[in-house]
Amino acid sequence: MEIERTTNNPPEAWEYSAAPERFPVSIEETNKLFIDGKFVSPKSRKWFASTNPATDEKLADIATAGGADVNAAVLAAKKALPKWSKLAGSERAKYLYRIARRIQERAREFAVLETLDGGKPIKESRDVDIPLVAQHFFYCAGWADKLEYAFPGREVQPIGVCGQIIPWNFPLMMAAWKLAPAIACGNTCVLKPAETTSLTALRLAEVLQEVELPDGVINILTGAGDTGKHLAEHKMIHKLAFTGSTNVGKMLMRNSAGTGKRLTLELGGKSANIIFADAAIDQAIEGIVSGIYFNQGHVCCAGSRLFVEEPVLEEVIHKLTRRMKSLRIGDPMDKNTDVGAINSRSQLQTIEQYIKTGVAEGGQLHEANNQQLPSRGNWCNPCFFTDIQPSHTIAREEIFGPVLSVMTFRTPEEAISRANNSPYGLAAGVWTEKGSKVFEVAKRLEAGIIWCNSYNQFDAASPFGGFKESGFGREGGMQGLKPYVKLV
């Protein structure tokens, strides 16, 4: 038998080829305000540029809503309120279902746009953000005609016109978290996205036109802090919902005191991720990584304080270091990118300042992943600090970046007291295979969300919100309807 012999190729390092998402998305050069069902030029005549944080390239001009524009939007919402709030719940639900379906149909477009504008990896906008946006509208659609079952024995009425101000870390998802329960409960809205990430909210406005949502039910105003201030202080707003920094939240609370406006705040966090020695360490490493490096750490519930039981500290550091080397940092549009660009230059400067402070205060900086970062755009290598005490600045203040503080504890008591020693109380993670310990520790942690043997799991059916300076009010789940109803 004559068979030509072929030799096995010598093993070479197998690398992934570039895998850019190429779905074409067009962006208008100028993007107007969405008021009363129409795109209108700003009366302020002011515009600002939105850039791609991964390349510093300008994407579009966005309208700045001034006082007169805010007034027009609030009036449109007020005008739409009587009819919308009296519409049968089952009819309102139809619009929400249609919005959800249309978002699913245009999911790829939304994902690409979100990544272009915000810098997060396409993998995350495609697999996490946009699916959750659709899920939120679906979920709230289901409640629209069942509100009396959510609040048994009470009569449920809408609050009225809602002013909603959202951050840049999950732009469209935050819009969905605010808009879906509000309109499901019969309110009308004026939404202001963050100035660095306006594009997906404006694309959502297109969807609202497509599904023929009645004019004025949702109005979308772009702009920076001044626009937000005009909106928050408008006298005809019945309710204000804000997600963002604790400082702004405190200011809003002061300014709205005595006005009769209802307020919900979802603010910052410095969440504790607690690893006990009896945890499944290999899996806990995954929880640490998804806890702090997901979305470049731009996550209000990021597990930015890691507490490790002393006997497993060395193992955790060793495995975390190795795991971080497999994180792929770079072009957010590449489907294999794990960590994308920092959302803005100013946020990058904030993060870099915190890293400097951490080093200056004696922390040991570990940059396990020292990949070559792109020369243009805003980039920060994921990193963690050891030799950190709970009193260090970086262990106390919210950094909102891919920076982790690793600390230790010896007993559950110490873990709980260290975790609770923070002005914030948004989320926490508990890692142990011992069921009784999970419950014992979790019930004593002051945090709105506690994940056991997992982290950063989100679902529209699950309420989200904080303790202490992390805010009040819940979003998502049945509890997320409450901030948008009057119970009589």
């Binding site: 072929t6 030799t7 190729n9 080829s17």
Partner: protein, 303 residues
């Protein structure tokens, strides 16, 4: 202390590997690598000498068509002990190994002396690699010492032949069991003498029990291999077997190995696929990349 395993995050991580986009050059390179890692397998009662010879021919030259650079041979042909002699003759000088299942495959429900004899006969007939099954009955009833002792004796009986230890994860059911069994069998193999890199493999399944290889199960076994490497510097091999039928699935496994154990393990000496139909799907994809069109299933030999 027994290593803890938590299913939710294992599944989440395993799923993340399937989300990698492997296209163009990396796909071609990856599929060539996969082809070189296949243990082309036939384990049927009706296996004939003719079928084994046909399989061996395919193992050496997976596809007769023109393709540059030439396609690699597969790693090994895996057969029952009685057919080792046929395979050995057919593969002579090709560089393709003969692997034989032994130890009363697939159930292992035979007296130890019979199982040891099974191994010796296969080695004498020329097997380069022995795929053994562990005593799941003893493992599940907590007789770990018995499981370990048997593995030690089998490894001694192997002589120079490499040993792949099948956990039959479908019967172990839980990921905790998979991890405990992985740690146990590696230590047991080491107790028979020093292990060179790739001399001992752990393998998921016989292919006779469902579920066979899955990504989460393989991930847990890779974690065990990683731990043993951290402790000793010895590289244990990994062989998922059963249920991996498509080129796409096989690339997911490569991604998993690359992102856990690293590229050191991306070689046939440390990673194998136990499969019968995988090779043809890999060939289809490779020919498609080469010619620009998909060949039909019947364009490839079955064996």
């Amino acid at each position: 202390m027994q290593q803890q395993v938590d299913t939710v995050m294992v599944e989440q991580r395993a799923l993340s590997f399937t989300r990698r986009s492997i296209k163009t050059e990396s796909k071609i390179q990856g599929l060539r690598l996969v082809l070189s890692m296949i243990d082309l397998t036939t384990l049927e009662g009706k296996d004939s000498d003719e079928k084994i010879r046909s399989l061996c021919r395919k193992a050496i030259t997976p596809w007769e068509g023109e393709i540059t650079p030439p396609l690699p041979s597969v790693a090994a042909v895996c057969v029952y002990p009685s057919l080792v002699i046929i395979a050995k003759r057919a593969l002579e000088g090709s560089g393709v190994n003969v692997a034989s299942v032994a130890t009363g495959f697939p159930s292992g429900q035979f007296p130890l002396s019979v199982r040891i004899d099974d191994v010796k006969k296969a080695v004498e007939a020329g097997a380069d690699e022995i795929d053994m099954v562990i005593n799941r009955g003893a493992f599940l009833s907590g007789h770990y010492g018995e499981v370990a002792e048997e593995i030690k004796q089998v490894r001694i009986a192997c002589g120079d032949a490499h040993l792949k230890i099948i956990l039959e994860t479908g019967e172990l059911e839980t990921l905790e069991n998979v991890r405990a069994a992985s740690d146990l069998v590696i230590e047991a193999a080491a107790s028979a003498g020093p292990i060179a890199d790739g001399e001992v493999f752990i393998k998921t399944s016989t292919g006779k029990v469902s579920p066979a290889a899955t990504m989460p199960v393989t991930l847990v076994m890779l974690d065990a291999i990683q731990s043993y490497f951290d402790k000793t510097g010895v590289r244990i091999g990994m062989k998922p077997a059963g249920g991996i039928r498509t080129a796409k699935q096989s690339l997911h496994y490569l991604v998993m190995v690359k992102e856990t154990l690293g590229t050191d393990w991306l070689t046939p000496t440390l990673f194998r696929f136990g499969a019968s139909s995988l090779a043809n799907d890999v060939l289809r994809q490779l020919v498609r990349q080469h010619t620009g069109r998909y060949p039909a299933n019947y364009d490839f030999s079955e064996a």
